[in-house]
């Protein structure tokens, strides 16, 4: 087990941030923590990176206890906080050199690990970190977190505020790192990124809702989902929410994801109902559930 968490609870003065969290991450796994803002993801990261002490429970990272063996953990993990936290007034190269030095290593020693990422920012190595674009900052932060060849990598919302192209690139980089025997724990509020993980834990209000592979989680979805569209989406939402047989109604891009509470649901009934609400161009067809649907269902 690369990361093992059992019964971890943490509360701040009046707020319970984590409640009885347990899960295991295997060596070399890319594990995702998926949950909305304020779900307790960052608190969990801070406990696992020894920055915070839990009120209850035991956790080990790379085989070391987070409380009694925290010094060993600090040598073996890389942490990339959600907020960009490198020295803005030092250049790209100086930042990297700084982190290499305090980990007692050099850039050359582990260069092959970061080469793929570093070549992309190397043209800007004399630029101050504060003057980089968002995607570049992210890559630099990842390089700094990897420079000491960690066994476990913690990435707290690495793609928040990054453009879609850079996000995609970033996940490709993670996939490549995984092949170099690095266990990765990543948190994200984006459900589409969840599908890229080996396993995910859905987390809300400090509790884990479900842990499984993204495919299995989707399979657990109990109902048939329909994509519904019409000429006026706002009116459509209002009408569906008013429909007495609805089970769930969520806007999803240009469609509305709809599930019905009846077992013998016939889409024609719904079309008739929507037409009575003066909607036109109505389309209804079956669709596969996504992780977002599952999350919404579980979070209900």
């Amino acid at each position: 087990m690369s990361i093992s968490v059992s019964n971890i609870s943490k509360s701040y003065k009046n707020v319970t941030a984590l409640q009885d969290i347990s899960f295991n991450v295997k060596a070399g796994e890319l594990f995702g923590l998926i949950g909305p803002d304020g779900a307790g993801k960052t608190t969990l990261f801070r406990i696992l990176t020894t920055l915070l002490i839990a009120n209850k429970g035991i956790a080990t990272v790379a085989g070391f206890d987070v409380v009694s063996e925290y010094k060993k953990i600090r040598n073996n993990v890389g942490y990339m906080p959600g907020k960009f936290s490198l020295y803005q007034d030092l250049t790209v190269e100086e930042n990297l050199e700084f982190f290499a030095t305090i980990f007692g290593t050099t850039i050359e020693e582990n260069y092959d690990l970061i080469r793929d990422i570093y070549v992309q920012i190397e043209p800007f190595k004399d630029r101050r970190a504060g003057k980089l674009s968002g995607g570049m900052k992210q890559k630099l932060a990842l390089c700094c977190a990897l420079i000491h060849k960690p066994k476990v990598l913690f990435l707290d919302e690495p793609t928040t505020g990054v453009d879609p192209v850079s996000r995609k690139e970033f996940w490709e980089m993670l996939k490549r790192l995984q092949q170099k025997d690095i266990t990765i724990l990543v948190s994200t509020p984006y459900m589409d990124e969840a599908a890229l993980c080996d396993r995910i834990a859905l987390i809300q209000d400090g509790k884990i809702l479900q842990i499984d592979t993204p495919q299995a989680i989707v399979k657990h979805y109990p109902k048939q989902i329909y994509n519904v569209s019409a000429n006026d989406t706002y009116q459509l939402l209002k009408s569906l929410n008013a429909y007495s047989y609805n089970h769930s109604v969520y806007p999803f891009g240009e469609f509305v994801h709809y599930t019905d509470s009846r077992a013998n649901f016939n889409p024609k009934d719904l079309i008739a109902y929507l037409e009575s609400k003066k909607l036109s161009n109505i389309e209804i067809y079956k669709t596969e559930p996504t992780i977002e649907d599952t999350f919404m269902e579980l979070a209900k």
Partner: protein, 373 residues
């Protein structure tokens, strides 16, 4: 060791890249030394002086002439009556009023004694006290002269016994205020700059989030703290050097004692200040908070250091408090070594207290610095 050196190198890079910081470190102290040393004087000059002469005799005119001749008093205004003079004082047109009574000369000759009315505007108590001294000096001088004139032959049997005091001001013969203010102000700027910079430095890492990143690295507390604070120790010593050169060149302050001794004491003293700075930054979350707390302590330390007001004039409890004021010892040592040429054994008590203070403050600071929370 390599880690510490690297952190120090990084700190210096950051300090010299911060365009706002450089003038604060090097230009402000120089301005402070030049301006404050010239401005912070206890002498009161150009006192607005007015008088009411009810006597109109040669003696009264001679007395007024004395004031006229003094460099401290300015713009002599004659008031016809006390009421008008009081009104002028109320308006702030005059600070010191002299009232010469009726028959001043006649009574002086007949009774060998007389009284003068002096009114001083005491809105600024310190200035009023000094003005009073000046007035007394002039009147006394006048008294000496007049004794010879008014004493008549018949009185020769009664020889007045006059005891005169002639003070010698050791270590500062001419009572030049710059001679004792410059060492004090030098202390002030070394303290302020190092305290503010060190207090804000670690908080800054907290603010921009780098401290969290540092905390998950295997770096040791001591390595990090030494690496962070050492550059400010160097800056503090640099400031002392700049200040001493200016004191010598611009103000021609005597430096009787050994320079090495001053540097030895300062090197320990800066440790105290850095300890306080680190302690502050451990308990604050933003640079703003750190700044306010550092400012609060500096003001108290400076006002109670004996720099502007003598410690001897403070109430007993305040005097006890000043024993916990590191600036007090620094001011004492600087004045002793520079003006009096004190040696190592003379400043040993201050040196010992400062070293103890440095040990306690840094111990507290390191103890309260936590990598986890």
């Amino acid at each position: 060791m390599k880690t510490i050196l690297y952190i120090i190198q990084k700190e210096f890079k950051q300090i010299f890249r911060n365009k706002g910081m450089l003038p604060i470190i090097f230009v402000l102290p120089i301005l402070q030394l030049v301006i404050l040393s010239n401005a912070a004087t206890f002498e009161v000059k150009n006192i607005k002086f007015g008088y009411i002469d009810n006597d109109h005799s040669s003696t009264s005119r001679a007395l007024v002439e004395k004031f006229n001749a003094s460099t401290y008093f300015n713009v002599l205004t004659v008031f016809p009556s006390e009421a008008i003079a009081s009104a002028a004082m109320l308006k702030g047109e005059v600070d010191v009023l002299l009232e010469i009574p009726n028959y001043f000369e006649r009574d002086l000759q007949n009774e060998k004694r007389n009284n003068l009315g002096i009114t001083i505007n005491a809105i600024d108590g310190a200035a009023a006290g000094i003005e009073n001294v000046y007035v007394t000096q002039i009147v006394q001088g006048f008294n000496q002269n007049i004794k010879m004139d008014v004493l008549q032959v018949s009185d020769k049997q009664i020889q007045p016994i006059v005891i005169e005091t002639i003070p010698l001001f050791w270590y500062n013969k001419t009572l030049n205020y710059k001679t004792f203010m410059v060492p004090g102000i030098l202390v002030l700027l070394v303290t302020m700059i190092t305290l503010f910079l060190s207090g804000m430095n670690i908080v800054r890492e907290k603010e921009i989030g780098t401290l969290e990143q540092i905390n998950v690295t295997p770096i040791k507390k001591s390595q990090f703290i030494i690496g962070k604070l050492f550059p400010f120790w160097v800056i503090g010593m640099g400031l002392l050097t700049v200040g001493l050169i200016l004191a010598r060149l611009i103000f021609n302050v005597p430096m009787l004692g050994s320079l090495a001794l001053m540097y030895l004491y300062t090197s320990i003293y800066i440790l105290v200040i850095l300890g306080i700075g680190l302690f502050i930054s451990n308990f604050t979350d933003t640079q703003q908070q750190a700044m306010f707390i550092a400012w609060f302590f500096t003001v108290i330390f400076i006002l109670m250091s004996g720099l502007f007001t003598p410690i001897e004039s403070m109430p007993k409890w305040a005097q006890t408090l000043t024993k916990f004021n590191p600036i007090r010892y620094f001011v004492e040592v600087m004045r002793m070594v520079m003006l009096k040429g004190s040696g190592f054994t003379d400043i040993l008590p201050q040196l010992f207290k400062t070293a103890l203070y440095a040990f306690i403050m840094n111990g507290l600071a390191v103890w309260s610095y936590k990598k986890t929370n």
